[in-house]
Amino acid sequence: MVDTLTHAREVVARVVDPEIPVLTIEDLGVLRDVEQDGERVVVTITPTYSGCPAMGQIEDDIKRALNRAGFADVGIKVVYQPAWTTEWMSKEARRKLEDFGIAPPTAPADVRCPKCRRGDSRLIAQFGSTACKALMVCSACGDPFDYFKEH
């Protein structure tokens, strides 16, 4: 029998990013802490970017997931310090990201195409489909791809 806090942690850790559904908020490093305060479960998250529009959705998803698992009273705490960094993204998360077709964060010179897996690509646009991504093109296969910016 797992204790309730462990259970709450497992439930929250399974919540996925609404824009990159192969990654959980734990993979991304957005999930910082899950605590219990009496009946209340308090989840601490940190935004990837100040204006990341997915944050509202993530908060709703966390609440919904916990409610469904039987936790009625949920609080969300958003912290900015220390500032989120792509260094918190696990190796496993980076692999999943690449398989999904998004080049994982690395120094811009080391970016490799997630499709043909070769290096040598160049930046097309500094800002991509979401705040956390830039748009690059592969010099080998010619395909454009999203690159998760090192931040």
Binding site: S50, Y80, A83, Q126, F127, A131
Partner: protein, 250 residues
């Protein structure tokens, strides 16, 4: 503050006392909110799709910073972020005149952004050392984003200054038109940011051979609520929904 009551219209709200450590935060939040709205006006009509996306993303970052600051202010003052953004009149906004200036052409937008980014690169490292932990956290985050915005505006300054005669002339016109709003950035305690800003802007001028107007005239007033006429129109559009349906939530 006006005592007039118009039924159904959100009334003005008291701001922190001028000597409160929170007072300057209203200005920083307002700068970011107003500029977020301005760059957002480019969405669907920027010169290229990539620029549309870039300006939209930059706007989102500014909006995020503004929201974080309003939420922090709201906690201390028992208000919501919407009350700050949607419940104040132009006379109660404390943003710089620079950020409320109309987008003009793309050169005006970029020069305005470049001047502002150079300022934010001085402000956030300073506030990241704040005794107020929340402010320090917001500032540390905002600094990373400001660096990225600066890379964008700096790149476009170079490209337009070194592009065609037409693009170079447009950057010149934009610098001439916006220069008079830059002095205000360094009023009061913000004087400490002057040297750093002068360095960044001076490097750009040196690199491109561009120059600033000889005319020393500088226009100020934003930090005490005296704005150019443009802010009223911007707020009318931005606050329309909340003024029509006060308290509306999505």
């Amino acid at each position: 503050m006006s005592e007039a009551v118009v039924s159904g219209v959100p009334q003005g709200m008291p701001l922190p006392q001028a000597d409160s450590p929170l007072a300057p935060l209203v200005g920083h939040a307002d700068d970011n909110l107003v500029l977020a709205h301005r760059v957002g006006e480019w969405i669907s009509k920027a010169p290229e799709l990539e620029l549309d996306i870039a300006l939209g993303n930059i706007g989102l970052d500014h909006l995020g910073v503004a929201r974080a600051l309003y939420q922090h202010l709201g906690k201390a003052e028992g208000k919501t972020e919407d009350q700050y953004a949607m419940g104040r009149t132009d006379r109660e906004f404390r943003n710089l005149l620079l950020v409320e200036q109309p987008n003009g052409d793309f050169a005006h937008t970029i020069v305005r952004q470049f001047f502002f980014d150079c300022y934010q690169l001085q402000l956030w490292p300073d506030l990241a050392r704040s005794d107020d932990e929340i402010v320090a956290g917001i500032a540390a985050k905002a600094l990373k984003e400001a660096e990225y915005h600066h890379r964008f505006s700096h790149g476009w300054m170079l490209r337009m200054a070194g592009g065609t005669d037409e693009s170079r002339q447009r950057v010149r016109d934009a610098i001439d038109g916006l220069w008079r709003f830059t002095g205000e950035i360094f009023e009061g305690n913000a004087a400490i940011y002057r040297d750093g800003w002068d360095g960044l802007v001076g490097d750009m001028l040196g690199e491109t051979g561009l120059s600033v107007p000889d005319d020393p005239y500088q226009k100020t007033g934003g930090r005490v609520g005296y704005h150019t006429e443009h802010l009223g129109y911007l707020l009318t559009e931005m606050q329309w929904m909340q003024r029509t349906y006060p308290g509306l939530e999505w």
